[in-house]
């Protein structure tokens, strides 16, 4: 008899929908169907049963091909690499459980690693901005229950967080928002007329790269000061009108994405958006929330913070202190400056998502990639160690984009003999202990 697993958390994006229902075969081996997930989430669950899945570690041979090796061989090679390297980039962590991160950090502290997560190329700018000016924010349920002014700035949830609008931000009816979509005014600021812009009541098309100026204009307008005629292609009349509109709301929220974090100014764009939010609290209630990408990138930031006090790019290379400086201890900078000797990737794919100069630098160093699937990083690594998929084949804690922790669930068994991240890291940790004890 097929079984239905309920309250399943989707391990794809930072929205972390936890209402999925997954039907699995009687023997716990196969996913038969997935309910309530978006197109991307469904694909993720289906991915477990795609043909050609690698289930054992592989080592690259001198001729460029990969040869299967045992887990023990892979663990030994990895531990030796970590112990030998003066400074190792230990990157990823965004698609694994908080429990796995904890073990990873223990290893990093021993071998002198720099622990960095995907925020480094995603919402790192947002974290820097929050470090500079703080952040007035709220949980997603607050948005659902109270928000009547919703701004999407430089983000496109219709594509990147598909169920965000229906679960939290535009359509749901909440306690004080019984009219749902009708009771909310939706704004979209973007340089493209995206699918998100199509559902907005007001679309503000901004010239790419002028967000900082436009946000400064919003703040200047909120204080009733004069503005130039246009700012980033937006007429000043429109700025004044929107600001008045926002002040008239009861509860406003700004969602922002990589349109701000990646664009010229980076942290400054978010800094200005947060400062605008702060200013608006003098007139009404206002919050701002980052649209975090990977499903547990927030979790990595949380665990690093309670263990070391920094949310990403944590340099433990001196082994007796934790340091942090974005632009120095961040992955892309470390790679491009050749400031590390080896790379350990886990639960993300820098090979696909780092600029090519960084990828080339990585390919020239001893590199191990731990990932359930073949990706661009595994193909340029010396060793690929496949593991069970967290959130599908094993559980563990994850943090949503608003920092709410939600437990992911195991719905099916991993292929026979495959290790989980926690098991693998624990074994690497033990091997590191042996090697370092032997020294």
């Amino acid at each position: 008899m097929p079984k239905v697993v309920t309250d399943v958390t989707c391990p794809f994006c930072g929205t972390l929908c936890d209402d999925l229902e997954v039907t699995v075969s009687d023997d716990n081996k196969k996913i038969l169907s997935v309910r309530n997930a978006c197109a991307i989430g469904s694909e993720k669950f289906n991915h477990t049963s795609l043909p050609g899945r690698v289930t054992r570690p592989r080592k690259r041979q001198p001729d460029g091909t990969f040869k299967e090796i045992t887990y023990d061989e892979a663990i030994d090679w990895t531990a030796n690499m970590l112990v030998k390297s003066k400074k190792t980039l230990m990157y990823g962590w965004a698609s694994t459980s908080c429990q796995a991160m904890s073990v990873g950090h223990e290893i990093a502290e021993k071998v002198g690693g720099v622990v960095d997560n995907c925020a480094t190329v995603c919402h790192g700018s947002s974290l820097i901005a929050i470090q500079d000016v703080g952040i007035p924010s709220c949980t997603l349920g607050e948005v659902k229950n109270r928000a009547d002014r919703v701004i999407f700035w430089g983000c496109n949830p219709a594509h990147a967080h598909p169920r965000h609008m229906s679960r939290y931000s535009i359509f749901p009816r909440g306690f004080f928002t019984v009219k749902g979509h009708k009771g909310r005014k939706i704004y979209c600021v973007d340089c493209r007329h995206t699918d998100t812009a199509r559902v907005a009541d007001e679309f503000i098309q901004i010239q790419q790269g002028y967000d900082y100026e436009l946000l400064d204009a919003f703040r200047t307008a909120a204080r009733g000061e004069a503005l130039p005629d246009t700012i980033g292609g937006v007429p000043k009349e429109k700025v004044y009108k929107i600001v008045e509109d926002l002040k008239a709301g009861r509860f406003g929220v700004i969602f922002f994405g990589m349109g701000l974090t990646h664009t010229l100014g980076r942290n400054h764009n978010i800094d200005e958006a947060i400062s605008f939010t702060r200013d608006m609290n003098d007139f009404t209630k206002f919050s701002i929330i980052a649209m975090r990408g990977h499903w547990n990138v927030t979790g990595s930031g949380q665990v690093l913070s309670w263990q070391y006090g920094f949310p990403y790019a944590v340099d433990l290379s001196r082994r007796n202190k934790a340091r942090y400086q974005t632009g120095e201890t961040t992955s892309v900078d470390l790679l491009v400056r050749n400031e590390v000797e080896a790379c350990f990737n886990i639960a993300t794919d820098p090979g696909a998502h780092f600029p090519i100069d960084a990828v080339v630098s990585m390919s020239k160093k001893p590199t191990v990639t731990v990932d359930p699937h073949i990706n661009m990083s595994t193909e340029i690594s010396d060793i690929h160690i496949p593991v069970a998929m967290v959130g599908v084949e094993t559980g563990g804690c994850a943090y949503r984009m608003d920092n709410v922790p939600i437990e992911t669930r195991k719905v099916v068994d991993a292929p026979d003999g495959m290790l989980t991240d926690v098991e693998l890291l624990t074994k690497i940790n033990e091997r590191v202990d042996q090697l370092m004890g032997a020294k």
């Binding site: 470090q131 100026e213 200047t220 130039p228 400086q325 632009g327 120095e328």
Partner: protein, 266 residues
């Protein structure tokens, strides 16, 4: 004043952390003691002696100590960090954090410096004969206390984010600057003899930025008030005065708001 000369004998494989190269740490030490001072490369604990040939000796105090660095120091971090007195002269380029949290004395780099130099500087004189990277004279991440005092002079160009959260002191740039100048500043003075890309004085509360060349685009929160004659670093000229950032909060003095100011040479 006594002089210690450090000559690079081998380049580090990665980057060498040289927080011990300061007059304060060297003070009272002979060459062989200085050679024993720790230096770091990742988890490798090493000594200055491994990477430098050391000659001469330090004075009894920091103020009586001069340090001269010869050879390529472009992969050396933290030179002159937290120095309170004395003199450091580097004949090449240096890496990050050169002159960070400097409190006094004089630091001269004859080449370029990388990012995060002069971070949180409180006093002293820092001269960069080449170019400087990003975050020169800024605050450490999260801190609201950037450059507090002292003077930094750059003969070449500077990168982005210079003097973020500046509260005091002075920066003079002979060349050009990239984006984000004096963001969140609450005091201090910046002079840029060349051009600036964009975003001068964003979210500035107080302080002055004087630009001799062009500003790519003025922030919308700035408004022109009047023309003024100023003497800046020995040059007399007529400048257009702008006040702002009007989107930011401003303290009041005698009931009148105090703004940040940009002076643009006419």
């Amino acid at each position: 004043m006594k002089t210690v000369t450090l000559t690079v004998k081998q380049a580090p494989e990665l980057y060498l952390e040289c927080e011990n190269i300061t007059p304060d740490t060297f003070a009272g030490k002979k060459a062989d003691e200085i050679a024993q001072l720790p230096a770091y490369q990742g988890k490798e604990d090493t000594t200055l002696g491994e990477y430098f040939t050391i000659a001469g000796e330090a004075g009894a105090t920091a103020a009586e100590t001069q340090i001269i660095l010869k050879g390529d120091c472009s992969k050396m971090k933290y030179i002159g960090i937290k120095m309170t007195a004395g003199e450091v002269i580097v004949n090449s380029s240096t890496d990050m954090y050169t002159g960070g949290w400097m409190k006094g004395g004089k630091l001269v780099v004859k080449g370029d410096v990388h990012s995060f130099c002069g971070l949180g500087m409180e006093g002293g004189e820092f001269i960069i004969e080449g170019n400087a990277g990003n975050y020169l004279g800024a605050s450490y991440r999260g801190d609201w206390r950037g450059m507090q005092g002292g003077i930094i002079r750059v003969k070449g160009n500077v990168g982005s984010d210079i003097c973020t959260f500046m509260n005091g002191g002075e920066l003079i740039v002979e060349g050009n600057a990239d984006v984000h100048i004096a963001t969140h500043a609450e005091g201090g003075k910046i002079v840029i003899k060349g051009n600036v890309n964009r975003r001068v004085g964003g979210q500035m509360v107080k302080g002055e930025v004087i630009v001799f060349g062009k500003i790519g685009l003025m922030m919308p929160g700035y408004k022109y008030t009047k023309d003024v004659d100023l003497e800046v670093d020995g040059t007399k000229a007529n400048f257009a005065e702008y006040v702002g950032d009007l989107g930011e909060r401003h303290p009041k003095r005698k009931g009148e708001p105090v703004y940040g100011k940009i002076f643009l040479k006419k």
